[in-house]
Structures are given as C-alpha cells and as structure tokens.
Amino acid sequence: MQKRYFWEAFLLGLFVLLLPALNFSGHLPDYYLNLTGKYLALSIAALGMDLIWGYTGILGLGQAVFFGLGAYAMGMHLMLKASGHGVYGASIPDFMVWNRVTQLPFFWKPFQSFSLMVLLAIAVPFAAAALIGLLTFSRRVGGTYFAILTQAMAYAAWLMFNRNEMNLGGTNGLTDFKTILGFPLNNPGTVRGLYVATALALVLSFAACRWLVKSKMGLVLKAIRDRELRLEFMGYPIARYKIFIFALAGGLAGLAGALYVPQVGIITPSEIGVLPSLEVCVWVAAGGRGTLLGAILGAVGINAARSILTARFPNEWPIILGATFIGVVMFVPDGVVGLPRQLHGLWRRRAARARSELAAQAGAPVEDSHA
C-alpha cells in the first residue's frame, strides 16, 4: 500500500509543483504546459467516471453532457467579459449579432459574475445528473438499459446544442475569449495560473474522492458494483446512493469543463455527444477502473497519445482508438494500473502449471489408467 501512495504523491508533486516551476524558469514551453493543463482538467472528469463506473458499476455514457454544461457556463462568462471587444463591438456576443438577436437572453445573465458562474458550472450538471438518476435509478433501470438511455441523452443534447435557437453559438460554439478575471488569456502568466488552478482542483478532487471511497460509503458503492441484489435485500437504499454518486460525478465533470475551456479557448457541441462520452470511458478503462489514479493516468495518457497520433495519422486515429477500446477491455481489463498485478498473476499461474507438470511427471501413474 505504501508503494502506491508514494507513486501517487510523486505524480501529484510532479504535476502541481515541478511543471509550473519549469515553465516559469523557461525550460518548459507554454504550449506543453497548456496541453498538460487541458489533460489535467479532463482527468477530473475521468475521476467522476471512475467513481460511478469503477466503484459503483454504473456505466454512464453521457458524461460529456455534464462536462459540456460546465464548459458552456465558463464559456458564457468569458464571452460576456469579452463583449464590447468582439468584431462588432456590441454588448452581446458576436454570434448573436449574426443571428439577429437583439437582447441578451435571460439565462445568460447569471454568468456575468465569476463566483456565480463557478457555482453554476458545478451545480447545474450536478442537478441535471441528479434528475436523470432520479428518473432511472429509482425505477431500477440499470446496467445496459441505463447505458443506452444516457447515450441517447448525449445524442439528444448534441442535437440541441447544435441549434442556433438555443443561443449558445450553434455549431460554432463559443469562442473568441479575451480575459478571465481581468487577466488576458494569452498571457503566459495567465496560462500558468490556470494550470496551477487546474492542478490544485485535481489534487483536491482526488483527495476528496480518495476519502470518499475509503469511507463506509465507498464500501457500499463497491458492494453495489459487486452484489447489488444482495445489498438491496440487506436493506440499503441503493437508488439513493446511485443518485448521489452519479450527481457527484456530474458535478466533477462540470468542474472539469469549466477548467478546460479557458485553456482551450473554445467550446463547441462536438465536445458534448456520444463520442466524447465514450472517450471518458476509454480513459478510465485504459488507466484502470476502481483505482482513481488509473483514471488520471488514462486521461493524460490517451489524450497525449491522441495529440501525437492525430498529427501523424489523422485518418487512422478512430481506428486506433477503437482498437484500443477492444484491446484494453479484452486483454487488459484492469488497465495500466492493474497491469503489474495482471502480469504477476499470469506469471504465478505459469509457475504453478509448471510445478504441477513436474509433479505429474515424477509420480502418479494412476491417472494414466483412465486414458
């Protein structure tokens, strides 16, 4: 156990302390820091996914929607702050001017304030997830049905966000941000600040999740994953646990979205949909389900692989991703984090088989008479 904590502490230290320091001293280019910051933001969403899937056994294929809710919240705030500096110089965002919208729609107004926006970026996806959980878990809709429903929900959300009538930028999304809290977004200092904020958020979320799964609640969640029926007969209100953890994961995804957007500079409906939701799954599956650390490793690893591979093989990337899915689920079900254990188990089985073969050769002719 101690070894695991050591690795975790090492990685966190690396992310939170070392990288920004290197950037500050000029050894690490801003571009890579920014990229890593994006990966860390996505890791927070992966953490949520691990909570619901790795620990509770709920496969939710709509996490990208909650991510998107938080991301759009931040996006709306940044757009409002950039108003007056857009191409049209109007007090409403540019795309509204194109769409001949004259007044700011009412639901944009709360996002003027930064603190309110942060609250909403977490609370809205939390509430949305809670609602979906309420409609499904309390009706005992679980397993594959739930996965299909969340996938359909992701699809429907993607369709809706693409519409111009939603006043959220349509297919082009929200972009052209200028400042956050008064700091210009392309300033290296801001990039560093955002990175540190993201890394800290990751550390805090990680600590909170770690505390949660080590608590009694964590035990219940794992029991839901392993033997739900038995737990139900023991009298636990399964639905409530599921709703809570699903809502929590939604909130985490929203937080991730809000941290992601200022580092990327754009949010479009393509980040909300069936494919991004499935990608969150691959990250957690590849990293190692039910280990929290695996979620972070998977998110960072696969996104880093994507950045490298899509530059060289843009057309083959979906095939590579699909093959990774298949390969990971079939051959490395415990992910990267579980790889040492898996290999160890394989090695032990080989050793045991070799031993029993030797024993069979040495003695026990009794078995031959049945041949």
Partner: protein
C-alpha cells in the same frame, strides 16, 4: 429571270418537287406573307384563331427566333445549326450539300405579340394527338385565366373522348368562369368545384374570394375551400403515416436482430449500426460489379445484393462472436464497449476504403411510386421495404417458434445452464444467433440503400432509435419489438410535421427520447416484461 418570277418559281418548285406533300395551303399562305415582310399581327392572330396544329413548327420557330426569310420562302434554323425548310428537310444546294446562306436576319416578333404566339401554341395543343399534351394544355389554360380561351376549350370538349383530358378541360372552363361578369355563370363554376374539390381549385377560389362581393357566392366558395383544406390535411397525414410506417419497418428489421442478441446473450451490440452500413456497402459493391461485368442486366444486381448482404454480414457477425464476443459472456457492459470499438473501426475503415459519399441507384422498377390518392405518391422502394420487413418478421417468427434450432435458441434464452445440461451446445447457439441478428441488420442496410445514401454514418442514424426500440419493447420479445418500433417510428414521423419548422426532426427525436424515459417510469421492464422472479434488469 425577272425578280417577280422568283417567288413564283420557288412556289412552283415547292409544289412540283417530289416532297411537296406536307405544307397545307393555309400554312403556305401564312409563310409567304411572313416571308414577304407583311405586318405580323394579323397573320399571327389568324394563326391563333384557326388553332390548327399544322402551324406548330412555324409558331415554335417564331417563338425561338429561328425563322429566316430567304428568297421568298421561310427557313428554319434547327438545333444542330443547319437550315431546313418548313417541313424540316435540310436545305441543299445543287450538288446536294447543306447550304447555309449568310446575311439572313431572323423574323422578330414584337413583345406585344409574344402573347399571341403563346396562345396559339396552347390552343393548338388542345387538338394534339397525345392525350397527355392535351391535358397539360387544358390545365395551363385554366391556370392562365384568359377568358379568350373559353371557346377553344369548349370546342375541344365537344370532340374529346379521353376522360382524364375531359376532366381537365371542365376544370379549366370552371376556373375561367369564376371570373365571368355574369353571377349565374360564376355560380355554375362554384357548383362544379363543389362537386369536384381538388387542390388545383384552391388558388383560384382564394383569388375569387378576394374579389367577390355577393355574399351567397362567397359562402359557397368558403365552404368549398374548407372541404378542400380538409381533404388536403387528410392526404398529408396519410403521407406522414406512410413515412412513419416506412421508418418503422426499417427499425423493425434492425431491432429484431438486436433484441434477439440481447435477449439471448445479454450483449448490446453497439456495432449493429455498422452491420447495417456493411449491408448497404454490399449492395454498392455489387452494383459496381454488375455495372462493370453485366451492364445489360444492371437492375438485377439487387436480387443478388439481398442474399449477399445477408450472408456476408452474417459471416462477419459469426467471426466477431467466435473471435471476440464469446469471451465477454456475462459481462454486458464490457461487451458494449468492445462492440463500440468494433463499430468505430468498421465505420472509419469503410470511410477510408470507400470514400465519404457513395450511392446506390435503385433498380428501375423501384423508381416512381403508386398514386394512392391524387397528389399522394407512395414510392415503390418504401413499399418494398415495408414488405421486406414483414417477410423478415414472419421468417423470424417461423424460425424461432417452428423449428428445432429456434427451440434451442429459446431454451438458451430462458435458462442457459439448464439448456446446457440438456445437451444443447450454448456456444453454437450463441454464434448462430449472433450471426443471424447481424445478418438481419445487413439485409436492412441493403434495403435501406434504396432510399438513402450509402455512407459510413448511416448506421449511427438508426442505432439510437433501434436501441430505444429494444429498451421499450422488452427483452427478447418479438411482439414487443414490433410494437415498439411501430410506436417509435410513427412518433418520429408524426411529431415532425406537428412541430413544423426546420428543427422539427431534432425536436421530435428529443421528444421521443423523453417519452421513452417517461414510459420507463411507468413500466421499467419495457412493454413485455420478462416473466419470472428475477427482478433485476439486464
């Protein structure tokens, strides 16, 4: 030769030449006066009043400015740029070579007289040999609304035998009568429309209402308009219902396979949409093959495509099951992800291999449709798909409930361990069932290629709806799948026009999703719940 003799000589040549049979004296006379440069209007009016189809080539040429006077006669400039005389015979010189005189100016018609030409053409068309042309001319005259046409229409009516053309002429006459100053005549026209409400009457009736003062006539007109609108609505809704039925049949073919696999193995096959896509591509490949090797029998490719898509996609499904999915037995969530990965690989692979836009041309006997009601055309291709889905349904029912293999499948679905104990090879049943399910999807894809494009994304369009069908219809129950696909297909297509607007397809999809979620609130196991004590949902 004296100048005066030239036209005489030409006329004489024309009369004596062995080809002098076509031009009637009247046409000749008109041609000559035009060639002489006489004022056009009286000539044109005379042509129009006579409404003799013989003048058609002359008038058409005048309209397109291809009539040239030359040496006292008229020349036509035909489409290939050669000069012919009014009969269409090419102009030849003494040696028999095409002659192309230069320095000619075409006869131009004043803009004020263009209308005469139009009228002439229409009136002439009323006595054309082809009934289709006559009908079209009658309708055109009706919609043009020129009262001068009435006598010609009546004359045409007197000699007309074809019922379709007769009806068109009567309608045209009624339309013209709506503007008659005599109220009795207008009343007569309204009576006609009351007896024959059709959409063509809508717009003249609306204009009529704008100008009419007499209240009693207005009442009749409004009444007729209401009847027409109602008929239009009924027709439109029948059209939507048909679209819904067509979509339901596609969903049915796709969902049967999905439901059986899910009911049997607990695997939700996310690659099912891609199986559909592979079926469409099978049709495409076969079409290309036939185009290259059997161009004469181009249309028959479809007969080969149906069984080929069935077999090929079924084989792929078999290989997938044996190769990958059988190791995931009992782990539905993992199989969901693995099949998604397979789907991604297949769809991107198809995109890279075939390119993004390929299409299949339906065989000629599938083009066009059946006119069930005036103005409502039900395409043959969609009728075929509906028929195909029914055939699939019957085939699946027969296979599942009337054959030994079906018995084994049902046994394994009900209690896997027990069936295995009874000696049924569950592995073989799994593989065959999965192959069958994917084969059905392939067949659906092949049929779908008739009405849509063949592209890598076609599977994704139907897969979400297909899942909804399986979730709503209940696990592995055939009747549930039928009802659910009918319900979801119809809701999609009926909600669309009800919502209206450009986003209706999107909103109707969202609403259907919400309806499914709400439906699951009342009945979480789907329409037909699995009987038994196991309350957990897969």
């Amino acid at each position: 030769m004296t100048p005066k003799a030239i036209p005489l000589l030409c006329a004489g040549l024309l009369a004596l030449s062995p080809f002098a049979h076509a031009l009637s004296p009247a046409v000749e006379k008109a041609a000559q006066s035009l060639a002489r440069g006489a004022p056009e209007r009286p000539v044109l009016q005379k042509i129009r009043d006579q409404a003799d189809p013989e003048f058609k080539p002359l008038v058409s040429a005048l309209q397109s400015g291809a009539l040239y006077p030359w040496k006292g006669t008229l020349l036509l400039l035909n489409d290939s740029g050669a000069f012919t005389d009014l009969d269409g015979k090419p102009l030849l010189d003494a040696a028999g070579q095409p002659l192309a005189p230069s320095g000619l100016t075409a006869i131009s018609v004043d803009p004020g007289d263009q209308g005469l030409l139009e009228q002439a053409l229409h009136f002439m068309a009323l006595s054309d040999e082809n009934p289709g042309t006559r009908e079209a001319a009658a309708r055109k005259l009706g919609s043009l609304g020129d009262p001068a046409a009435r006598p010609y229409l009546e004359k045409a009516l007197a000699g007309e035998r074809n019922p379709g053309v007769k009806a068109a002429i009567l309608e045209a006459v009624a339309k013209l009568d709506l503007q008659n100053p005599d109220p009795a005549v207008r009343r007569g026209a309204l009576d006609y429309f009351e007896a024959h409400p059709s959409d063509a009457a809508m717009s003249p009736l609306q204009t009529f209402l704008q100008k009419e003062q007499d209240p009693s006539l207005r009442r009749i007109a409004e009444f007729v308009l209401v009847r027409i609108n109602r008929r239009l609505k009924v027709r439109n809704w029948i059209g939507y219902a048909f679209d819904g039925l067509s979509l339901s049949s596609v969903l049915l073919i796709m969902s049967i396979g999905l439901a059986i696999t899910f009911g049997l193995m607990g695997i939700i096959n996310m690659a099912h949409g891609e199986m559909l896509m592979l079926g469409s591509y099978a049709a495409y490949v076969l079409q290309q093959f036939f185009a290259a090797h059997f161009p004469a029998r181009q249309d028959y490719f479809f007969f080969a495509a149906l069984p080929l898509s069935l077999l090929a996609v079924g084989l792929i499904g078999f290989v997938l099951e044996r190769g990958l999915l059988r190791f995931l037995y009992g782990r539905p969530l993992e199989s969901l992800l693995v099949t998604w990965g397979i789907g991604m690989v297949l769809s991107q692979g198809a995109r890279l291999y075939f390119g993004d836009q390929t299409s299949v041309n339906a065989p000629t006997w599938f083009r066009g449709g059946w006119e069930a009601m005036p103005g409502l055309i039900l395409p043959y291709s969609r009728l075929f798909i509906i028929f195909l889905s029914l055939a699939c349904l019957i085939a699946v029912y027969w296979l599942l409930y009337r054959t030994v293999i079906g018995l084994k499948v049902r046994a394994v679905m009900e209690n896997r361990e027990m069936a295995s104990c009874m000696g049924i090879s569950t592995q073989r049943v799994d593989a065959l069932t999965f192959a069958f399910g994917t084969a059905l999807a392939g067949l659906g894809g092949c049929a779908l290629s008739l009405i849509g494009t063949v592209d890598p994304e076609v599977g994704k369009t139907y897969i979400v709806d297909s899942f909804m069908v399986v979730v709503t219809g209940g696990v592995g129950k055939l009747l549930g799948v039928v009802l659910a696909s009918f319900g979801i297909g119809m809701s999609n297509k009926v909600l669309e026009p009800a919502i209206g607007g450009t986003a209706s397809a999107v909103y109707s999809k969202v609403i259907v999703l919400v309806l499914v979620i709400l439906f699951l609130q009342i009945r979480p196991q789907g329409i037909f719940a699995p009987k038994g004590r196991d309350t957990s949902l897969k």
